[in-house]
């Protein structure tokens, strides 16, 4: 380029000048601020309003946390220590955290057991959550966990969870052994085996109620955040298989099965959970045998599971409907019968599509376990509303307690939803 004019005009520059840096307002932080915060009059106003909101929130929050006290045995102590500093009275958490986490009836010298159970969760969960990255045998930890956790939390003889596990194992082995002779036959045989093992095991447990026994804790003594977690975990794990059955039932061509599933799903989805809890609390007892020891927690688990399974069924039905018709036809043309087609072709794909929906239901359900506080159970919310805020020591310390409750729920729920988003990305097999 410079050659063109080299001989003609002397004042033409021979070489390229180095590029000048962009104007200060177009680089770095300034540019970012201009583009993201002050790109126009309206945007600038919004930014200022936003900043004011942030400032207002932080100006209340920061002194509350930083000046807060963890010392003191009641609200009057707190007031004395804090004076006018605007700090929070976190002493209530320091004093009452065992009650908040375990309820007021769980024996205090046994609290290590549920604690251990939830620590073990950290070992048991990863194999299931990150199944694609860990060796398959680690799943054994996950499979064993429910029984270990049951034993740790409820106590009693170790035979009970062992028998329960053996029943499932025996049922599974029988199922695998005769699976080739037909899915339904195998399923029935497996279930029958499991029940036989449980029945015999029940007799054995009845004979040796003290064998390898740790101190039993009745369910009515569960409370606090532990109760929320227990209810959430049990009900979600029970409702997923139920939900699958209901969803398949709703898609089925058998009118009686379909009718029942439709009525059940629409009924449960049409009423608020709280009315179902009322049913568990005040009505269900009429419909169960009077001496059957169905205490409140079991009745509540039944109703919440029903509730969740209806919602999960709808999610899975969405997944089933989203599959291209070709998948069903392909399964038929391979000569697969209904159970085979469902197990091998349809459900794996439908469930994959349904994962985000199922996780949403699970998170919602976990949040809804707080509703049991309305029917005089002492979960985290029930503990705060009842024994703690009504005790004369801590009357009026609501900000700290509710902030603690919010924090616990936020951590769990946000964690689950982040995991589900991650999983969704991992499972995406279409290449867009």
């Amino acid at each position: 380029m410079s050659d063109t004019h080299a001989q003609s005009v002397a004042f033409v520059r021979r070489s390229e000048i180095p590029p000048a840096p962009p104007p200060a307002r177009e680089t770095g932080a300034v540019k970012w601020v201009r583009e993201n915060l002050f790109s126009g009059a309206f945007n600038s106003i919004m930014t200022i309003v936003g900043l004011l909101i942030v400032f207002y929130l932080l100006s209340g929050l920061i002194p509350w946390i930083l000046n807060g006290t963890w010392e003191g045995s009641d609200i009057r102590d707190c007031r004395e220590i804090l004076g006018n500093s605007g700090g929070g009275c976190f002493a209530v958490l320091a004093e009452r955290w065992p009650q908040l986490l375990f309820g007021f009836q769980y024996p205090d010298y046994l609290r290590w057991r549920p604690t251990l159970a939830f620590v073990l969760l950290a070992v048991a969960l990863p194999p299931a959550l990150f199944a694609m990255y860990l060796p398959r045998w680690t799943l054994a930890a996950t499979a064993l966990y429910p029984f270990a956790a049951y034993w740790l939390i409820w106590g009693g003889t170790i035979l009970a969870p062992v028998v329960a596990a053996l029943g499932i194992l025996a049922g599974y082995l029988v199922f695998k052994a005769i699976e080739k002779r037909g899915f339904v036959t195998a399923l029935a045989a497996g279930a029958a085996t499991a029940f036989i093992v449980w029945w015999i095991g029940g007799l054995i447990v009845g004979e040796f109620p003290r064998m390898l026994s740790i101190e039993p804790v009745p369910s009515r003594q569960m409370g606090g955040f532990m109760l929320n977690l227990i209810l959430g975990v049990i009900c979600v794990s029970l409702s997923i298989p139920l939900g699958i059955v209901l969803a398949l039932g709703r898609q089925s061509r058998l009118p009686i099965v379909k009718g029942f599933c439709v009525v059940f799903i629409e009924f449960v989805r049409g009423v608020p959970l709280i009315t179902l809890l009322f049913v568990a609390n005040v009505v269900l007892a009429y419909f169960l045998p009077p001496d059957a020891n169905f205490d409140l927690i079991i009745r509540v688990i039944i109703m919440i599971t029903m509730f969740a399974s209806a919602y999960i069924a709808e999610v899975i039905r969405g997944g089933l409907a989203a599959l291209p018709k070709g998948q069903y036809e392909a399964a038929d043309s391979l000569g697969l019968d209904y159970p085979q087609a469902m197990r091998l072709i349809i459900l794996p794909q439908a469930l994959k599509i349904s994962i985000p929906g199922i996780v949403n239901v699970a998170v919602g359900l976990f949040k809804d376990t707080t509703l049991v506080s309305v029917i005089s159970m002492f979960d985290l919310v029930g503990m705060i509303r009842g024994p703690i805020l009504s005790s004369t020591d801590w009357v009026g310390v609501y900000w700290e307690l509710w902030a603690f409750a919010c924090l616990l729920f936020f951590v769990v729920c946000y964690g689950i939803s982040q995991y589900s988003q991650w999983l969704e990305r991992q499972l995406t097999t279409d290449h867009r």
């Binding site: 609200i75 009057r76 007021f104 009836q105 769980y106 024996p107 966990y145 429910p146 029984f147 956790a149 049951y150 009970a160 969870p161 028998v163 329960a164 596990a165 029943g167 499932i168 499991a194 029940f195 449980w198 029945w199 029940g202 009745p218 009515r220 003594q221 975990v233 049990i234 794990s237 029970l238 298989p241 609390n281 005040v282 009505v283 007892a285 009429y286 169960l288 045998p289 009077p290 001496d291 059957a292 020891n293 169905f294 205490d295 409140l296 079991i298 688990i301 309305v374 029917i375 005089s376 002492f378 509303r385 009842g386 024994p387 805020l389 009504s390 005790s391 004369t392 009357v395 009026g396």
Partner: protein, 339 residues
């Protein structure tokens, strides 16, 4: 997670149900514990203490019954109930006896098919207001905002009282006692109304009890007592006479301290002898051991001891005996003869 165990429980429960019988006494004896319905927490009447052990006036009734039937006052499973759940809990057999300051009314006795076994506390509904409000009588409450704990006869009495006196009010219904107190203390209502015993109990817990006054009016009769299911007379008798035994024990001067001594040999008062089982066969008439009343009294003390320990003058709640004194001292407590 615990699917199998749960299913196992259901199956086992289903099997167990086959042999169920309607006889409460044999059920309790077989089970080895008494299921007793109490409140979710009213100081002095029923409240778990710092160790989670239930304490209180109503709780003592449960313990006395457990001691009489099973010989062990700790063999009680306490079931906290709300105003809404208490009757179903009893009706469905979840609890054997409901000792939850429940007012004896006609319709509860007849329409709801329960049997009140007696009265363990004579109460009445009252009002509490902040002293700063400058109110000295309930008749000055026209237009006030009133916090009510729902699920009791309280709402009905209140509505009747204001209607009869031609006054208006703004009801603020709250489910639990502790939350109505919080609302009251925050000033979200001017007046808090419930049974006078509970008013006194809750005021005792305030930071400044003297800033609040209980108005002189008592607007209702609230005879509170334990109740059982209709139709099981044997069990009804046991609960009724356990309560009477506590009352009679106070009348005859039997206390938790001297009961062992008095029961060891017949005294010169035949009534005491029959009560404590050193004379006659009163226990076996109800299907219990003859030491039933002795066990009950030894476990919780006589009525006066129970009262003094939980809600009496020396406690934070500081209730006077008033109507709840023995008939010999101008009260209404009058146990039928043990004969």
């Amino acid at each position: 997670m615990k699917k199998s165990v749960f299913l196992g429980t259901v199956a086992a429960a289903g099997l167990a149900a086959v042999g169920a019988s309607a006889q409460t006494l044999s059920d309790v004896q077989e089970r080895g514990t008494l299921n007793c319905g109490v409140t979710t927490g009213v100081p002095g009447f029923a409240e778990p203490d710092a160790d989670g052990v239930w304490q209180g006036f109503d709780v003592a009734v449960c313990r006395a019954v457990a001691a009489a039937v099973l010989g062990d006052p700790t063999a009680v499973t306490f079931v906290p109930t709300t105003g809404k759940t208490r009757f179903t809990a009893l009706a469905s057999g979840e609890i054997d006896v409901l000792a939850r300051n429940t007012t004896w009314t006609f319709s509860r006795d007849t329409d709801l098919k329960f049997d009140f076994t007696g009265i363990n506390y004579y109460d009445g509904q009252g009002f509490m207001v902040p002293a700063s409000l400058g109110v000295s009588s309930a008749t000055e409450l026209d237009g006030a905002t009133i916090c009510i704990q729902t699920g009791t006869t309280t709402e009905l009495n209140l509505a009747d009282y204001f209607r009869v006196n031609n006054m208006s009010y703004e009801p603020v219904p709250i489910e639990t006692g502790s939350e109505s107190v919080q609302q009251y203390l925050a000033g979200a209502c001017d007046v808090y109304t419930t049974d006078r015993s509970a008013l006194a109990a809750q005021r005792a817990g305030f930071a400044n009890p003297d800033d609040h006054v209980i108005l002189p009016e008592t607007i209702s009769k609230e005879p509170l007592g334990p109740l059982v299911r209709h139709g099981d007379s044997e069990w009804f008798d046991i609960v009724k006479w356990t309560l009477n035994a506590l009352i009679a024990a106070e009348e005859y001067g039997v206390t938790s301290e001297n009961v062992e001594e008095m029961a060891s040999a017949p005294t010169d008062n035949p009534e005491i002898n029959r009560l404590l089982g050193t004379e006659g066969e009163l226990g076996s008439m109800m299907g219990l051991e003859n030491s039933w009343a002795k066990n009950a009294i030894a476990a919780v003390g006589n009525y006066g001891e129970v009262f003094d320990e939980n809600i009496g003058d020396d406690t934070a709640i500081g209730l006077a005996r008033g109507l709840n004194a023995q008939y010999t001292e101008g009260g209404l407590l009058y146990a039928p003869p043990f004969r």
